[in-house]
Symmetry: C2
């Protein structure tokens, strides 16, 4: 990596860092090429040496966030613990990441950006997270009620890839992930605090309920 390349990478990172600040302050609509350049002490057009355009920048922010979130969950899943504790750790990792940087969570799961359609990395990252959860469920001693139609569709997700996971476990992962998102997204928007309810308590209640109802031990 030459000096120029390193410099280039630093500039890109700085631009993205500032973009995230704008995202936090004014939402996705507030991310502006010109404003970023201004804060960096360069002119607007200069940024076009680093990003093809505004959409390109946003796409990178999204891809980064997806990857980081999936990494976080996978890391929590890698720690060697009893299956139930591992699942709790993963759920907490997801939540912690989200509440630490609400704007990024909302970038992924909030109102979709108008012109923009989620490309493959969305699917890839979601897939990674789901598979991580599913593997933890597989390790847990779980009794799975049947759900044929759903399992058939879920199985299709696994079709080509070589993943040591049953359709049932993946379905559980999907349901758990959905609930996780339910609490976390409302928490991130501040709906619970608005009601005077501690989101943490609700979150724990949800995790407890899920594990209590689905594990045999």
């Amino acid at each position: 990596m030459t000096v120029r390349e390193r410099y280039r990478e630093q500039t890109r990172e700085e631009a993205k860092r500032i973009a995230l600040e704008q995202l936090a302050e004014s939402g996705p609509g507030g991310v502006s090429v010109n404003a970023i350049a201004r804060k960096m002490g360069i002119t607007g057009p200069a940024l076009y040496r680093y990003f093809a355009g505004r959409d390109d920048l946003l796409t990178e922010l999204i891809a980064d966030a997806y990857a980081e979130l999936a990494d976080t969950v996978e890391q929590a899943s890698a720690a060697k613990r009893a299956p139930a504790a591992r699942l709790r750790a993963m759920a907490n990792a997801w939540r912690d990441w989200a509440i630490a940087q609400p704007h990024r969570y909302l970038l992924l799961f909030g109102t979709p950006i108008p012109g923009y359609q989620a490309p493959e990395h969305t699917l890839a990252a979601a897939h990674r997270t789901l598979v991580a959860f599913a593997m933890a469920f597989e390790a847990l001693d779980v009794h799975l009620p049947k759900a044929q139609a759903l399992d058939r569709q879920v199985a299709a997700l696994l079709a080509d890839r070589q993943v040591p996971v049953s359709a049932g476990a993946l379905r559980f992962a999907l349901m758990g992930w959905t609930r996780l998102h339910g609490v976390v997204s409302l928490e991130v928007e501040g709906q619970f605090t608005l009601m005077g309810v501690d989101p943490g308590l609700l979150f724990q209640a949800e995790v407890d309920a899920f594990l209590a109802n689905h594990s045999t031990g």
Copy 2:
């Protein structure tokens, strides 16, 4: 109501209708006073006779949506049915409303609009919905595990108002509503279809799970 007042009301409605079209097409950022006026065949400043400004317009769209959604759920709850069937009807009503007009659902529960903070009607409408659910739970024969800390906070929500609902039932409503939002919000954003999963199946699985695990009959 004079002729002028009626006319005035019609103009306001037309403006809001067009605003909702813009919302559907280009998201909250795409709602523009000038563009609305253009489509109505009048000039931009003319709209200032009807709305104090853009924020005022958005606030009204939000208030309308909250009220309409709460009404929908309450109506579903009013239909005389067995408690479990009533809960299903209410959950379906929520979901149907959301998927029929995703942009409005996202206006309420998507990324918060930058400068805007949710006023009282948010709380009021959320409260109505939760109470409706809680009353249906009360009618259902339910065995409630304890959750002291959470129930204490939830009870505070009921404090002043005279509502024939126990803290436990309200807590269940809160959890059910949270899960409901989890599925619906991901569905509305198209995350499931992206994965090749039928949201309807997942939704039914969630409702089934909730009712199965919490009802004694």
